[in-house]
Amino acid sequence: MSKIWVISEQTATLLELTGEARRLADAKPGTVTAVALQDRTAAEAALAHGADEALWLKLAENQPLEAAAVTLSELMRDAQPNLVLFGATLRARDLAAQVAAHLGAALGSCATALRVQADGHAEFERIVYGGGGVSTQAFTGPLQLLTISPRTFAAPAANTRGTSIREVNVPVDARVTITARKARAQTGADIAGATVVVGVGRGLSKKEDLAAVQQVASKLGGAVGCTRPVAEDLQWLPEETYIGISGRKIAPQLYLALGLSGQVQHLAGMRDSKLVVAINKDEKAPIFEHADVGLVAALETALPTLIDELTKLGR
C-alpha cells in the first residue's frame, strides 16, 4: 500500500499533482493525500479531482508559507508517506527543503521527469550545471520528497473520491512577519505564452537597434525576449522577458535567436521551442548546434535586410 502526498499553495498546481499521484496510486494501489496551503477551496478541488483525503494548513495572514515547515514535517512523520510531490514554486522549494531537513529525508529539486518503479522506488531527472547537463537521480531511503515544476502534468478530469478535509492550524512564528506585499508590475511582453518569440543577446551592439528587433517581432506576430545580460546588466529590456534557467521558460512555435551565443543557461529556457532559427556573426557560436536554421551574419546589416525581406514576403 503506497501513500502519496501532494502539496502546493497554487490550486492549479495542486490539481496537476493530484492527477499524477492518482495515476501512480491506482497502479500500486495506494492513497492520495492533498495538502492545501492557502485556502479551503483548493482542498475541496483536490477531493473532486482524485484525492482520497485533504489537509488544509491554515497560516496567519502575516506569515510566510515556509512557516508551515515544522507542522508539515510533524504531519508527515505521523503519516509516513512514501512519496511527496511539491509544486516547485519558489516558496514551496524553500518549504520542501526545510521539511526534508526536519525529517532527515532526501529531496529532489525541480524534477523534470518522474518514474516510479514497481517496488515504489522513484527516479527523477533534473537540470544541472546551469542547463549544461541532465542528471538522473534515485532515492536511497523510503521517504522520497520531490519538487516538480508547475505544468509538468496535465490538469486532471473530475474524479471525486473522498470528502473529508482536515484543518490544521499552523502556529505563528513570532520571529518572522510579512510587513508588505508588492505585486510585480508587468512591463514587458508575455513571452511565456507567445507562439513566436524573438530573443536578443549581446550581439546587439546598441540599444537603438532594439527598434529593428521589435519591428521583426511584430512582422512575425511575436514577442521580444532576451538573454540575462541584456536584461540584468544592460537593462535594455524588462527583467520578466529574459529567457533562461533562472528566467522565463518558453515553448513557442518559432524562436528567432538574434546575436546570442547560446550559453547553457539560456538554452535551458528555450529548449522546448518547436523551430529554432539563429543569426550570429560567430560561426562557432554554440547556438548553431541548437538551431534548426542558422545564418552567420552581423545584426547591424542583417536586421534591416530581414525587415525588407519579410515585407517582400507579405509580412
Binding site: P64, E66, T89, L90, R91, R93, D94, A97, Q98, A100, A101, H102, A105, L107, S109, E123, I127, V128, Y129, G131, G132, G133, S135, T136, Q137, A138, F139, T140, A174, R175, V176, T177, I178, A180, A183, R184, V196, L220, E232, I245, L254, L267, A268, L275, V276, V277, I279, F288, E289, A291, D292, V293, G294, L295, A302, T305, L306, E309, L310, L313
Partner: protein, 251 residues
Amino acid sequence: MPNVIVCYKWVLDEADLRVGPGGALNLDNAGRKISEYDRNALEEAALITEKHGGTITAVSLGGPEIKASAKDALSRGPNSVILAMDPTLQAADAHTTALGLAAAVRTLSAYDLILCGEGSGDQYAQQVGPRMAALLRVPCISYVNKLTLDGDHVICERKLEEGVEVVRAQLPVVVTVLPDLNKPRIPGLKQVMGAAKKPQVVLDAKALGFGTAELTPRLSTLAVKAPLSNRKKLRVQNVAELAQQLVSALS
C-alpha cells in the same frame, strides 16, 4: 556589531563542460570557482560589516579540493574561514552538506546572520540554506534582493513569482540571496595578499561529529548527460533564405 557567516560552495566551472561519446558529460579537466551567487553573499557580508562593523566568517564544505578555495574566499572580505573538509565529503548531497555546515556554525560562539547564495552553480538544488535554517532552528528568508539590518532585526525583500514580499525577522536568521542583490567587487592585489595571512580552521568529518548516518547520501546519481538536441542545424547563406524559412514556419 553583527557576526556574519557566509557559506560558499567551491563548484566545478560549467564553462569547462565537455560532451563525450553518447552524450556523457566530461568534467575531468574542469576548473573550480566560488559559486556565482555565493559571491553575492560574500559581497553583502562585506557591505554589511563596512557599515555596521562586526566580523565575517566564511564556511565551506567538501573534499580536499576545497583547500584551494580558502584564499579566494578570504580575499573577498571574511576575517577567517572554516573548511569542513574530508575525503568523505567530496560528493556530499544537500542533506549531508547542510548537516556539516550547521555543525561548523555551532563551533562558533555566536552568530547573527548566515548568508548563502540561493542556489549553487552546479546542482542549483536551492536546498542548503533552508535546510541549515531548519537544522539550526532559525528562520530562513530566501530569494532576497534587498537586505537591511535594523538593530536585532533584518528587513528583507524577497523576489517571488508574483512580486515582492517584505519580511521582517528577528536575528539570527539564514538569508539566501539573489544575484541582483549587489555587484561583487573583484579582489585587488592587496586583498589577495592579505588573504594569505588570515586564519583558516579545518574540521574533518570526525570533528564535525559525523558518523555513518550523516554521511549516508539520501540521493544517488545514476547518470549525468548533456541535454539532447535534435535540431536540424541547416545553414542558410543569406537573409532572404532565412526570411523564407521564418515565413514558411508560420504558415
